[in-house]
């Protein structure tokens, strides 16, 4: 696919995910991306997803501790995951023992500390207005995050997004496609086309992106090429019931 750059870091991210799935002899799924991120971060990880409406629910965690705290955040309606979702921006609670953090989430923090979690980082799983959930990391030690760490986790969140979108579209792309795939999605046309398709189909931008990816997959074309057709109005999507 010409015109796109693939960097070593993002290849490494995808290879770790694909490798994990291969070791399980399973098809690559969202949970592999979450687990690979947890391994890379040396932390527990949990993923909450929303299915368009209502509050997101915890769908996968690498361990019971992360699972419990993810559930607790959802129940209490407070915590980094809740805020990352609401604000669509990463929330870094690098040291839960900090008094300001306690004041911010008074019900959550004492429980987390008692269970041995010292830091929580929550990263939205989204591309602009296309939002599927939040990826949270639970660490047993407080440590200043480096920019490289955050960058790596953002790349994993990106991988989770793509796998989640494709799962929603009923797609099961193979390992090779996945490793080469993420990198065409950054073009402005893809975002513009998602917006246009959302109006054409009367669905959210998230579901429009699902439909766009599914179309590209079915036609075995790059997503950006299908998106360019939509933007140029050579292609428009039609809701099923009116066809």
């Amino acid at each position: 696919m010409g015109g796109t750059a693939v960097t070593l870091t993002s290849i490494g991210v995808w290879l770790s995910i694909v490798g994990l799935a291969a070791s399980e002899k399973a098809a690559v799924a969202v949970r592999h991306a979450v687990a690979a991120c947890a391994q890379a971060a040396g932390a527990g990880a949990a993923l909450s997803m929303s299915c368009g409406c209502g509050a997101p629910e915890p769908v996968f965690a690498t361990d019971t501790l992360s699972d419990g705290l993810e559930e607790l955040q959802a129940t209490l309606g407070q915590g980094p995951s809740v805020e990352a979702l609401a604000g669509n921006a990463p929330v870094l609670a690098e040291d839960l023992a900090d008094a300001r953090i306690l004041a911010r989430w008074p019900d959550l923090v004492p429980v987390a500390l008692a269970r041995g979690v010292a830091a929580i980082v929550a990263i939205p799983v989204s591309s602009g207005a296309a939002r599927v959930g939040v990826l949270s990391l639970y660490r047993d030690h407080a440590e200043r995050l480096s920019g490289d760490d955050l960058c790596l986790w953002l790349l994993y969140a990106d991988a989770v997004l793509m796998l989640a979108l494709d799962a929603r579209g009923g797609l099961a792309p193979g390992a090779v496609e996945l490793v080469g795939k993420g990198f065409t999605d950054r073009r402005a046309e893809v975002h513009q086309a998602s917006g246009m398709i959302s109006v054409q189909l009367g669905v959210s931008v998230t579901d429009a992106l699902v439909a766009l990816r599914a179309r590209a997959f079915a036609e075995e074309r790059p997503i950006s090429a299908v998106a360019a057709d939509v933007v140029a109005r050579r292609l428009s999507f039609v809701p099923l019931e009116t066809t």
Binding site: G2, G3, T4, A5, T7, T9, S10, E83, A86, G87, N88, A89, P90, V91, L92, S126, S127, G128, A129, A130, R144, L145, S146, G147, D149, L150, C151, L152, L154, L155, D158, G182, F183, R186, R187, A188, H191, Q192, A193, S194, G195, M196, I197, S198, V199, Q200, S204, V205, V231
Partner: protein, 312 residues
């Protein structure tokens, strides 16, 4: 003081003036790109930021032109901005014909777009490069020393603007700020798509509708864009608003900045529908603006099956 010096001085004052509190980063960068064109005597300017994957993304430009978007996208693989980003040094390419060996696809796209001079200025924060400012000229030739220096100063202001919103200087906060700007741009592109489809507009005209609504209501572009993607502003956006000149009153912006600072918690993009309602209801609009807005007509009236009707 030469006339360029005077205009440069005025531009920096104006930009610095925007950098006071809670400002709109995308609008700021667009303004800066426009100012760069005027001050440096070039024909187009674009601001590209690197994401976590090391890919350069267009976040602002002096004009909403498909060719600028295309030239930016090519630089995900090759081009002066990618070089400036990797080396941290300015790149001058006064004649794309000579650059064909270095960047074959980019050089021919530049010529196709009608430009003959291309320049890239790195956007640096100490030892870290976060992106590059791209300048395009229809005339061949190098930027003179003075223009190159002024251009770098503008690129530095862009960097400061991106990293300013929260005045931390830790590395991961830099990443967060970059992420914020990139994510804002994505939402804006998605909203452009929604509007283009809903109002039957060419995609490049949709941006003006968003920008004018944001300026009229003292909202951030990304907030308006997000509301648009959720269908929350269906009744508020009209085609005509894109074609009217409107002065930007500093006082009016200042008023809202104060209000916003009070309501906006750390790390949160404003909740769009809520904020829209709050600000529209809460801020008195001077001089009959609101009634003018009503008279302008709404989406349904303006964009029937026949397409958009411009009243500008």
């Amino acid at each position: 003081m030469s006339s360029r010096d005077r205009r440069a001085w005025e531009t920096f004052v104006r930009l610095a003036d925007t950098l006071v509190a809670d400002f709109d980063i995308i609008d700021f960068l667009d303004t800066l790109a426009q100012a760069s064109v005027e001050l440096l005597g070039v024909d187009a300017a674009a601001i590209l930021l690197a994401d976590c994957a090391g890919t350069l993304n267009l976040v602002a430009a002096s004009a909403q032109q498909p060719r600028i978007a295309e030239l930016s996208q090519l630089q995900q693989a090759e081009g002066p901005c990618l070089d400036a980003f990797h080396t941290g040094s300015a790149v001058q390419c006064p004649d794309p014909l000579t650059a064909r060996d270095r960047w074959p696809a980019f050089a021919s796209a530049v010529l196709d777009a009608g430009f003959t001079g291309v320049y890239a200025l790195p956007m640096r924060l100490r030892d870290q490069v976060i992106g590059a400012m791209n300048l395009f000229s229809a005339k061949p030739g190098e930027l003179d020393a003075e223009a190159a220096e002024l251009g770098q100063a503008l690129a530095d202001v862009a960097t400061i603007g991106i990293l300013h919103e929260r005045a931390f200087r830790r590395h991961e906060v830099v990443i967060e700020q970059l992420q914020h700007a990139l994510s804002s741009r994505i939402v804006i592109e998605q909203a452009k798509g929604v509007l283009a489809e809903r109002l039957h507009l060419p995609i490049e005209d949709a941006f003006a509708v968003l920008r004018d609504y944001a300026r009229d209501h003292n909202l951030k572009l990304a907030a308006v864009a997000d509301a648009v993607t959720r269908g929350a502003l269906d009744d508020g956006l009209s085609v005509g608003s894109a074609h009217r000149e409107r002065p930007r009153s500093r006082e009016r912006r200042g008023l809202v900045v104060i209000r916003r600072c009070g309501v906006r918690p750390e790390y949160r993009v404003p909740d769009l529908a809520d904020e829209t309602v709050k600000l529209v209801d809460g801020v008195p609009e001077p001089g009959g603006r609101r009634s003018a807005g009503k008279a302008r007509g709404r989406l349904q009236d303006q964009a029937g099956p026949e397409g958009p009707v411009n009243d500008g």
